[in-house]
């Protein structure tokens, strides 16, 4: 799970739909699992779009299209809205995606991705529509995500943008550390707050 980030260069899987909610990313019936089994969630990523009613792959869905692959998912704006289920992030990570590019992410899902070492990269609407066009024209289009420099580049057109990532989270991602490691170190500060705020 705790993969270190540096520079990622990959082809992309395009999903040019807006408002993709977490019920689509992983339907509720897969939430009954009591373990964090990445393969199980990854196998059921976008299940109701990916498989036909008889369980065979839907040839019209992008994950079943042999032209597209890679560890970068490119999605329309407002990706991950709705339910807070972290299972959505587990499914994305479990499938093998390391980066999701969109022009807008829903808050809770964005945090869930980061907590699972999947990097949400927010780009401008212009960058996103150009990237969709590049991938459509050539499925072999590659994107470079440079975490140290906080830049994302469409290698087909050369267009590059800087993306937001706070210094703390960047340090965590590049060094494979999570928030709990940090919080457990802060016990004295927590107890001091409790003492000062006892009612």
């Amino acid at each position: 799970m705790k993969q270190k980030f540096d520079i990622i260069k990959s082809t992309c899987v395009p999903l040019p739909l807006e408002n993709v909610d977490t019920d689509q990313i992983i339907p509720a019936r897969f939430l009954k699992a009591t373990t964090r089994n990445g393969k199980f969630f990854g196998d059921n990523l976008f299940c109701d779009w990916r498989y036909l009613k008889d369980g065979t792959p839907n040839p019209e869905f992008v994950l079943n299209d042999p032209r597209y692959g890679g560890c970068i998912l490119v999605a329309g704006k407002n990706f991950g809205s709705g339910s807070s289920r972290e299972h959505a992030a587990w499914a994305i990570a479990g499938y093998g995606f390391r980066v999701v590019i969109s022009s807008f992410f829903a808050d809770i899902h964005k945090g869930n991705e980061l907590n699972n070492f999947v990097l949400p990269v927010t780009v401008s609407e212009g960058f996103l529509s150009e990237l969709f066009a590049s991938i459509k024209a050539d499925p072999a289009t590659e994107v470079e995500v440079n975490v140290p420099a906080q830049t994302v580049t469409n290698l087909a057109t050369g267009r590059s943008e800087r993306f937001e990532l706070n210094g703390y989270k960047k340090y965590c991602l590049m060094n494979g550390l999570d928030d709990i490691d940090f919080l457990l170190e802060s016990r004295a500060k927590i107890e001091a707050w409790e003492k000062a705020n006892a009612r």
Binding site: G76, D107, Y168, L183, I190
Partner: protein, 464 residues
């Protein structure tokens, strides 16, 4: 600046991480069976115990069946998840209201009704509808499972401070217009992402005049426009509701608490990052026509034309209408309904059952419509019985089931079959949300009751 959100948030800051998030102290963590097993596993793997177990309350409510709760759950996978929560709560020394416990129910109904959620608190749960508790004047928001583990481990969470927004609804709500309609109206104007990155304070005379049940419904739906949370400054309505409840402060502690709670309001000079005002008179009973909660309209309106949708959103818009089997320009009133669902953390409270009963009383359930009436908690169910609403509804051909999330997300047996059209008082009309292929129209309890007795989507005002 100087907003109520700032006051509560700032009072809970343990530290601000340089070039990073804020470490925020959490007063209450609620746990349910779906989003916690992996957090408990994480605690075990690290060999740690909850820092403040007395501030954590657990209960199952997603997988619970809505009948025969005194018998073991038939679905072995659901049963395992519910049993796992009970075992984890016992192992880690946490309070647990199990199935059939008189305090069990959906936490967003139970927290307020037992006096667990109080003004000025920070409250989190691995459930996006945790925003509901904001109605008590608390900062409450949904979190992921890793964050549940963070809070168990440290009673703190790392979060970027959201921006602040005030949404005011001024004026008087019309006849047949409920808090649910207000929320669906706001969402239809804001879209499902219009409040992403913000915490919303609801204000204005129409909001002030809502009952606590109405306020809980309004705050519940904050997430559906992307807001992390929504809240209402506590006032006499809030204090009156809390007084005497199981975990409410008592005696001198009550007086001290109320004195503090009265200070919880935005200053007259408060500056919000965004301010929006709606007119109550513009709101009618609402229905949704698409596959996200922002796709709503007045019950007598028609579905927008494709040309009125932004270019980048047209593929999603048409996909949504195709799924629903509707066309641009369609009117929903008069469409045949197969199922009606009253319940969920949005509309599973006593007032919602009173509203439904007010339309159903003296009428009969339409033949061919399947109706599921599911209270949000055992306490609500008991109140329904105490008020005689169960008898009244039974006479009209309805049955009250046992509490839980039920058909809102169909994790138990209450699944809407593929293709069936449902008028639902729940919170999400996403594809497959109420069962694979199910088609959902979100509406108020009054509109749900009107559909239940007529068999078609009906403006409830025609039956009042």
């Amino acid at each position: 600046m100087n907003t109520l959100f700032d006051k509560i948030w700032d009072a809970h800051v343990v530290q601000i991480v340089p070039d990073g998030p804020t470490q925020l102290y959490i007063d209450r963590l609620y746990c349910h069976e779906v989003t916690t097993p992996q957090a408990f596993d994480g605690m075990r793997a690290r060999g740690i115990k909850p820092l403040r177990p007395q501030q954590i309350v657990c209960m199952p409510y997603h997988n619970t069946p809505t009948h025969d709760q005194d018998k073991p759950i038939e679905d072995p996978v659901s049963k395992k998840q519910v049993d796992t929560l009970a075992a984890n709560a016992a192992e880690f020394g946490l309070t647990h209201y199990g199935m059939m416990d008189s305090r069990n129910g959906i936490i967003h109904v139970v927290g307020p009704e037992r006096g667990l959620s109080l003004p000025g608190m920070t409250i989190v749960c691995g459930d996006s509808h945790t925003s509901t508790h904001g109605a008590m004047g608390a900062v409450a928001f949904g979190i992921g499972t890793s964050e549940v583990e963070m809070v168990m481990a440290s009673q703190c969470i790392l979060q970027q401070k959201p921006k602040s927004m005030r949404i005011s609804v001024e004026g008087s709500l019309g006849r047949g217009v409920t808090a649910k309609d207000v929320a669906l109206y706001i969402m239809s104007k804001m879209t499902t992402s219009g409040a992403t990155g913000y915490f919303v304070e609801y204000a204005g005379s129409a909001v002030r005049n809502l009952t606590m049940e109405g306020r809980l419904t309004l705050c519940n739906l904050s997430i559906e426009m992307g807001a992390r949370g929504g809240f209402i400054a506590p006032d006499e309505t809030t204090f009156e509701y809390i007084k005497g409840r199981e975990h409410a402060p008592k005696g001198e502690a009550w007086d001290r608490a109320v004195a503090y709670w009265k200070t919880l309001k935005s200053g007259p000079d408060a500056i919000f990052d965004r301010e929006i005002v709606f007119k109550a008179e513009d709101i009618t009973p609402m229905v949704t026509y698409g596959t996200n909660p922002g796709m709503g309209m007045g019950i007598e309106d028609t579905i927008p034309a494709l040309e009125s949708v932004q270019q980048s959103g047209r593929a999603s818009f048409m996909r949504s209408l195709n799924y629903m089997g509707f066309e641009p320009g369609d009117k929903l009133s008069g469409k045949k309904v197969d199922y009606v669902f009253l319940g969920s953390c949005t509309n599973g409270r006593i007032e919602d059952f009173r509203a439904f009963a007010s339309i159903a009383a003296g009428r009969k359930k339409a033949p061919g419509v399947v109706c599921w009436l599911v209270p949000g908690s055992w306490m609500v169910k008991r109140q329904i019985e105490d008020e005689g609403l169960d008898k009244l509804l039974e006479a009209a051909g309805f049955e009250i089931r046992q509490p839980g999330c039920s058909a809102c997300l169909a994790m138990n047996d209450d699944k809407i079959p593929a293709g069936k059209l449902t008028v639902s008082t729940s919170n999400r009309n996403f594809e497959g949300r109420q069962g694979p292929g199910a088609r959902t129209v979100l509406a108020s309890p009054l509109t749900a009751a009107a559909a239940a007795v007529t068999g078609v989507i009906t403006d409830p005002r025609t039956l009042m």
